[in-house]
Symmetry: C2
Subunit: 458 residues, 2 copies
Amino acid sequence: MTISIPKGTRDFSPEEMVKRNHIFDTVKSVFKLYGYLPIETPAMENLGTLLGKYGEEGDKLLFKILNSGNFLDNVSSELLVADKYMPLTNKISEKGLRYDLTVPFARYVVQHRNDIVLPFRRYQIQPVWRADRPQKGRYREFFQCDADVVGSVSLLNEVELLQIIDAVFAELNIEITVKLNNRKILAGIAGMMMQSDRLTDITTAIDKIEKIGVDAVKQELADRGISEEQISILEPILCIEGDNREKLNKIEAVFLSAQNAEAGLAGIAELRTVLNCLDELNADSSSSVEIDFSLARGLNYYTGAIIEVKANNMEMGSICGGGRYDNLTGIFGMKDVSGVGISFGADRIYDVMTAKNLFPHNTVETTRILFANMGHGEAIYCLKALRKLRAAGISAEMYPDTVKLKKQMEYADKRGIPFVAIAGDSEILSESFTLKNMRLKTQIQVSLEELIDNVKIS
Amino acid sequence: MTISIPKGTRDFSPEEMVKRNHIFDTVKSVFKLYGYLPIETPAMENLGTLLGKYGEEGDKLLFKILNSGNFLDNVSSELLVADKYMPLTNKISEKGLRYDLTVPFARYVVQHRNDIVLPFRRYQIQPVWRADRPQKGRYREFFQCDADVVGSVSLLNEVELLQIIDAVFAELNIEITVKLNNRKILAGIAGMMMQSDRLTDITTAIDKIEKIGVDAVKQELADRGISEEQISILEPILCIEGDNREKLNKIEAVFLSAQNAEAGLAGIAELRTVLNCLDELNADSSSSVEIDFSLARGLNYYTGAIIEVKANNMEMGSICGGGRYDNLTGIFGMKDVSGVGISFGADRIYDVMTAKNLFPHNTVETTRILFANMGHGEAIYCLKALRKLRAAGISAEMYPDTVKLKKQMEYADKRGIPFVAIAGDSEILSESFTLKNMRLKTQIQVSLEELIDNVKIS
């Protein structure tokens, strides 16, 4: 029998759990400080809730649950042929595993609209599942940490989310660059080129400027069927350089002299408001915010701000991202509820922290002291002491079996437990313990009170 | 479009999350104090890992995942007929959602045997899924909180788990009775009756003694086909009364005068050892431990101790249970690894705490103070103050939109936020805030430092 787990999934060992919890706890504590409230939704959603929300490709990547019992009961025999698996799917499966936390959240808001007070700030930290081809850094089960505000159009929400990003990564000691764009600017570019349906081609090309240069980008656009005239309209934007304000001033000039670029001006105004607020508030910010007109994530989805976070000096995709969506609950029939949110990618953050050795070297979450087991009477003597240690908040354990002391010391060593206490007849007589410091290789004889003082994390 | 979630599943609102987290955090903190280490396993396991581990009924209750892509690709047409859904299932599904945390843990121990130091104390808090018929208090997605020790046969592990049970429920303020039995005593009873395969019938009948009396139980056993002679062998056990020691002495006398009851004597010795240790250690214990020879949960599974916890004065099933299993990893080919574990039922504990009004009335996890939004300049003034509050660890938020103050106050009221701060021109001039106490309906003018002092939870 081969013992394994499905590909693309993972077990988490105690060591990994402690590190992952460090990330989750940090994110959670910042969310809470900003007044975000926790919710959770079921792992399974009705397929009607999920299908059609992530594009055709997304529908294929949903994990679908086989109906219970005789799932073929009401299936007509015409569907039971090998080339009809798609229509058959809908007959034999009505539930799927959630693909992200945003669509379940939209469903939650609509379903519980009468119990929710708007504006509603919520956070949600749960696993999601995608039947993607597994590869390095891409899993079929992974955690998302989302924070969203719905029911408010104020740009102060964007500012707040950027502050949260800053606070989380400062706390985790990760140096980051925040890239910022606005869907309306992209709409302005597409509008003046009369190419609203080619936005992905255009932004993909703009994105390569730094790597391949203006001429190569123009060639690529031409290859993708963008006409010379349209490319010449775009060219001034390709050449925009400078700091954030310069970039905004330059693209403003382009939009002002172009046709059909009104949306772009609204986007510029929004970005300026956000940048001004950040300037007034984040004098001590450790992260830098960078306007990037090529940023286009979640194109079909976002309607205002687009946010993406990269770890500095790391070859890796974004470790956090988000944006504003004006119509998310619209898919469930609830109109005019604007939202803006961000999502932290716990797995990539974990990889960055591992690569840069950023996890704190504490042992807070593991056992501080092992009591050796020298026999039944000695064990009872130690177990009484253990009660007092635990009452003092110290994680402590006793070796459960009376085996050779050498084996028990090896256990403490392999587990990385820093202290071992031993009590034989003479210690019991003098109401004391022999306390071994496993790192310093020293030992002293102490009373229980002294032992607690020695072992406690100061 | 109907907006709903699959039956038997639940959304958790912020209020429910805070309460559930109180339970999880309590359980976790006790597990940690006893040196248990956290692990997590994937939601999906290979069906080969899950099938056959929970009996025939359990196999049916597994949620199975439809294979991705054209799942009919390698299915022969003979299988594609309505009455062959069982063999078809195995062709179109190779993964299932975990049904409990014990089998995935056994799989984990075997798969990672080279990285684990035995004895291995682990805890695991994750959801499980069962395609049970939903009913009050029974869900298709629910959380289990498990702690197990594997690789040690010492009865001190049983003692430790009983201490953990005591500590968790003392911390949660739930009064409990712990019922204790031993599979070997049941084996002794079955042995002397020569009815090893009828244990479930026998224990179910014994269990009814208090409700229906000895005669009715004897009648029921007869109805189930147990012979008069066998019933007369059992009768002395049906009549056992008294405290724990008396019960053990009386059943010992029965076993000593019977044939084929040696296993029972071993069970008595184990129970005495555990009770003696508890007496020596738990002088201040708040829970009572009660020997109950009818306790038979997980019959096919446990080989030693059997533990079940009930909340006092509540009509409800057990809120925690567990026992020793000598051969769990054997199903995955790893022999001679004994284990003992307990599992807390978070949902039932939640229901008990709700019914008995035991959740602490603090607002630690929710927003302490709302800053009203009186316009852009005022908002910036408040946002600067908010940074300081959050740095002081106070959960605080600003109303994101500049709307009527009345609406903002209503928001604070509905959310249960205890303080509201307001700053207009005059407050800004004097570098102060008007601080409203929403409960006392008072307001004072304060500096930022005074505001922090007022709002802080002392």
